[in-house]
Symmetry: C2
Subunit: 159 residues, 2 copies
DNA sequence: TATTGTTATACTCTATAACTATA
DNA sequence: TATAGTTATAGAGTATAACAATA
């Protein structure tokens, strides 16, 4: 299954210090990890998993908040919610306060699944301990956060 | 253009320490950075940029090596090379040693463009200095590398 | 007039299987 | 028989514009 050919690694050249390139490479690992621990056993894609975790951790969530948190366009989010609803994992209800907006909630089945997933997540991350100490993990998360924050959400007082 | 609505940030919950989630968030930043500095001005996608940089930094490169380095499937890589060749940036030549394989090289136009790009890359990265010190950058790259290496390329002596 | 969410459309990305030509 | 690269196909991801309902 694995390509056994002994091929010379390519030099990275100017790519060496391009964070985006490094992130793309690291993502290959985390995606594979996800597929193995959660994606395949639960037939979930990364965004679907993230969606469930966000719903579990928050009350009174709107699609707008979700598309923000998951960096998905509204149309994409709509499709995602459709799939999850068809699967019986979430419900949508119009808000009483502002009838344009919705409240997205976990169904009972969704809560059961989310609880299970919340346990698997640390297991999945645990596997990385082979390559990353606890301190390194914490540091990595902190640094990724700084990158994510760069030019990110508009500071409160801006136009 | 920016959504001005003051909406409560969602709690991350169990996602808090999922590296894959953090990487996905950080990727949004680096992609935007790329589009602004390189993608739009040069009509290039991230992989196309990376491809050029790899060709510039290495001699005698084969499609197989490229699909490895860029984490693209062979078919995807073929299409990518087709596009770049149509654009007059690369050439493909069958190897004399093993007539199954190819050598991918930059055309003159490709070399000119790549030289220009190699200068832009540090500029792009420089913008991150606002959020990341030099030491933090170095640390981040090192940690991302460890993640990428996890379960990555098969150690030389393995089956 | 602006905003929430939906529909429609199109284009890119990615994975797989089947093919060819070499070895 | 195995490997390098290609072709074909389909599914998933993503962006955009146009729309309905509500504010």
């Amino acid at each position: 299954m694995s390509s056994k050919t002994k091929k010379t690694e390519l030099k990275t050249g100017p790519l060496e210090s391009v964070i985006g390139y490094r992130i793309a490479k690291a993502r290959v690992t985390t995606q594979a990890l996800f597929v193995r621990h959660i994606g395949k056993p639960f037939s979930l894609r990364p965004v679907e998993f993230s969606l469930l975790m966000l719903l579990q951790a928050n009350e009174a969530v709107t699609p707008a908040q979700l598309s923000d948190a998951l960096s998905l366009s509204r149309p994409h989010l709509t499709l995602l919610l459709d799939r999850m609803q068809e699967r019986g994992l979430i419900d949508r209800a119009r808000s009483q306060v502002d009838r344009r907006s919705q409240q997205v909630t976990l169904t009972d089945a969704g809560q059961v699944l989310s609880a299970e997933l919340a346990q698997r997540a640390p297991q999945m991350e645990g596997e990385l301990q082979l390559s990353l100490s606890a301190a390194e993990r914490a540091m990595l998360i902190e640094l990724l956060d700084k990158v994510a924050a760069h030019g990110g959400p508009v500071p409160d007082d801006e136009a």
